[in-house]
Symmetry: D2
């Protein structure tokens, strides 16, 4: 089997994560990693194992042997690189969100559509084994038609100020994963968004006009409901649970713990903590998402998280932002101009 | 210790439940049970064990030896009996809701206040051992200041049409328990209510202008949030869970199962079902609530669920109904005219 | 329905427990409680609610209106009272063990057999809802033919020296419950017993030639195996678990906790403790066992724990004692002279 | 950092597993894999990624660049290759058991001792995250001094007849892992072994004078107890649980499930199955064990499972076999001639 030749744009945390997963895989041939800064890669195993470390992404885009580009750079550069990669005929894996500007996202998707390349958006949680099992249970009809879908999604600790500043706000940065997951589980489109949000964790969020705590209610096209509760700080670890309640039953995915050990003494009965960090919790999911992407290319099948999925989640995030600002329910029809299919 | 002499008004399911608990208790002396219909009590153990079965509630109110009256009749009679019992100087235990009319509720509470008798409202869940443990954990500061309080409250199956017709609607009949619980857990007042509701379980609810599925978001006076999800039908049993998430941690009360047995075979790994019916789930709580009431009388202490608690929960239920009707968030200040303290 | 008139012989902890359960029941009419010491009952609710408190058990045995006798006195008096009650034509409920002397037990059972009265032995755990569910699962064939049955049975704390002295030793006092349970679950007879025991908890046990820690392996007639581990002190609470592993699967009964609450903070994820004391853990079972006994009398059916069950468990306990003493496996055929059927 | 150059002897399931783990690691440089049969490797990724696939193990032993040899061939060749590798000055990783002949094992260990190379035995379960957590909890003193250590170890299905024939019997093939684990957890030596075993799963075991079901009781040097229950067939999956009960508390490691999903419907409340196969259950442990071995070489530290550990577990397995054969408890002192320290 021919390996897929890959270039990664962006050598930050997430770019390095994908690089490591590719180096451990037999499907990818990682040829280039490019970033405006590459000094931090000096002396690492990346230097030994990746043929080219470059400060110029053009070296990826102009290399005819490259099959696919992973866009792991900052969000404000995504649209530019998607268009350039599409034009160069490369398949594209792009981290979420596609952009902070829904118009530009739409244009990027059109460019992909015209080029006829594949685009997968980095909603890694769709590949988590627990959430996948819930998804399959719902699809199999075991819990019937979903009436209420609940997601609890709480970070273990707030990001740094530099990150908050550029994050696009909690809904676009963090809840966007939940917006995608709730669409994925439901199999239906969201038509209305209503948010109650607060600043309870750290005043730093307020400084950047952001919130740190929220309860978001979503109405689906068939009248069924979704609810997501978010916090930027759960002291006990990364809290990632989903629940699909339907007319025949309910499926829950509980948190994964570091171990299944229970310790009982006179004073306490202790369980292990949930996995603390997203790199622990979704370790296998990150590996699976690039393999499903490879598979979509090799077998010319649909990707699991399409550009349209990225676009829809972004739209819901915008509606959530507006709901907080205007203290009212916001219909997606107010924001959506035309349909996108990529 | 002198026993408390009691008369029960209303010999339906809940009146009989309290009667049975009193007959098994050493604190109460159940002297009379009164109802407009008493034929169904003929030949039962009640006939043998309760000195007087009457069709006239006046026999309770005019009996000077009666210390306390349990009002277990239909909701539309509550206010009348509260006023009469207060006037007669009896302590009062009244099932929820106090009434469907907030003005009349306020008047009833004034009558209680003037008479100086005790009034406890039948929010039995406050006495559930699991919820009490969560309450105590929150009060002890273990999870810090609550940021998000979540309640899942789903009935195992819809009530009969006759019941639906007179129930006052899902928020006044069922969610009112959750409104009380969320105030109890939070220790703060609700200032705003926002509901998304739907008819997904049975068209019968729509016939009576009622809903069967809802997600209710509540904003507390300090900006922290509450969210309640309700359904009239959970196929797997009575689903009663609470979660208090604060800045230091989280406390969950999971469902109680019939047994702690796990059965593992080639095909399945099975747990036992959650307790199916509220009489199973809250069996011990029903016993505890009347004993805490007795204790409040004997030691002249405050009751655990005051008239004010009943009034506030009713107010939130009204706001929820209005939120559904007007498709907007409703502030409690729009509905509340004056404070009540009983 | 006619109530069963009862006299209780023995007004210690277990006699009082049965008395309280009868007073809360509609099936029993508790007429007399007799003990050589009755001073401790003065001023209690027993004095108010039981017609006769006597120092002479003969008042029970000679009262023609008494239908059934509960023998809750010290073990060395059981055989005497069984014989006397049988002779008086009373049905008998006797606490475990029937006696410390297998010959005398056999004689007592013969007296019961001749009198044609019912005898139930106080193996209350057969009536526990969790263990009953495992039993029913096994009987239904869900886990197939049992291959290994495991019981963990650990007391929360050692009894007092006075109790140890008269207990008959750990196997006769504590493990006898497990011997009965393993026969009940298996549905087969034990043919061989092999014990490894130790003194690890408290030297006081050694003083009375007793042990405090043991692993007992049992071989059933069909070659399948059982294993019981005991300790006189589990610091985290009363540890009572069973597991039936068969060729089609396994059924577990886990410990019951005080609540289903989980509390998660930065430092720990806490569950509630298992119920600490046998009166908490087996509260409902104690109530059920006397009602099943009543039912056996009223409907003239077989009791759930027969005299033969008491005899067999005693026989296994003797074999266990001998196995420890002689450091070898002991066959029950070495101890059993003739079969008993009561 | 210099990588460790490795040759693997034996290209069966376990040899391939180690090869794959090395290919995904940055610590090992896998240079050769040798087996008498290598046809099955043709056209696999091993052919592409391992420089030399050989039918002659001598190519490993005589290659001066090779630092360490992994012995993954059949048990009857272990001693030969250990001696040869030791003589060639290579560090050795050897699968369990070292041999079926305790004298030969001792000689192999002497050769290792003389050569001064490192030897690690493949008790992979010591590296499992759950069991490691229990081990650390015990070492930290949290549960106090162990009184009873329990291991449940049941295979999901019996091996093929060919495997059974050459396995050395259940105790030497399967329970040997548990013997090692119980020594590891206890930190004490076993002095006596008592087994009750049976043929309940499949008559094929009897044909080879083997058993398929057993309960093994172990006595430690301080009088504390261990108990292991084994079956060759657990229909619900691979059942691997441990429990260390001490004077201060208890630590349990429960089974790992495929997912943490719970599915509740009218008919059932379902959990996911335990991981079915040892390659799933101990996947991470297999990766960790070769890294801890590498680390022991690189930092010249003691290995986690020494030759002595392999020897002691083998000795216990022999005692278990003898206990079944002679139907009695067997002291290890009957079998052990002299101490081995490697």
């Amino acid at each position: 089997m021919k390996k897929i030749n890959v270039g990664i744009i962006g050598a930050g945390r997430i770019g390095q994560l994908h690089a490591d997963n590719m180096l451990r895989s037999n499907v990818f041939n990682l040829k280039v990693i490019a970033d405006i800064h590459t000094d931090h890669l000096k002396g690492t195993h990346f230097e030994q194992q990746i043929p080219l470390i470059s400060t110029d992404p053009e070296e990826i885009l102009t290399d005819p042997s490259i099959d696919a580009v992973f866009i792991c750079s900052s969000t404000d550069t995504h649209v530019h690189f998607i268009k350039a990669a599409a034009k160069a005929g490369k398949h594209i894996f792009c981290e979420k969100p596609i952009s902070f500007n829904i118009e530009e996202t739409r244009e990027a998707l059109k460019a992909v559509q015209e080029a006829g390349v594949k685009l997968q958006v980095g909603f890694n949680r769709r590949f988590d084994q627990d959430f996948r099992k819930v998804y399959e249970t719902v699809r199999a009809g075991t819990v019937g038609n979903p009436h209420i879908i609940k997601i609890t999604s709480r970070d273990p600790q707030p990001p740094h100020e530099e990150y908050i500043k550029r994050s696009g706000g909690m809904f676009m940065d963090m809840t966007i994963h939940d917006f995608d997951m709730i669409r994925y589980l439901s199999g239906k489109e969201v038509v209305e968004v209503s948010v109650k949000a607060a600043n309870l964790v750290d005043p730093i969020f307020e400084k950047y006009n952001d919130v740190d705590t929220a309860v978001t209610t979503l109405t689906f096209e068939d009248g069924s409901l979704g609810v997501i509760d978010n916090s930027r700080q759960a002291m006990y670890g990364y809290d990632q649970r989903i629940e699909v309640f339907g007319d025949l039953g309910v499926a829950f995915a509980e948190n994964e713990r570091y171990t299944n050990v229970q310790i009982a003494t006179k004073d306490s009965i202790l369980l292990d903590h949930p996995k603390f960090f997203f790199l622990d919790r979704y370790k296998a999911a990150f590996m699976s998402e690039i393999h499903e992407f490879a598979n979509a290319i090799i077998e010319n099948k649909a990707v699991t998280c399409s550009g349209e999925d990225g676009y829809k989640a972004e739209l819901i995030a915008l509606a959530a932002q507006q709901s907080v600002k205007e203290k009212r329910s916001v219909s997606l029809s107010e924001l959506e101009k035309e349909d996108v299919r990529v």
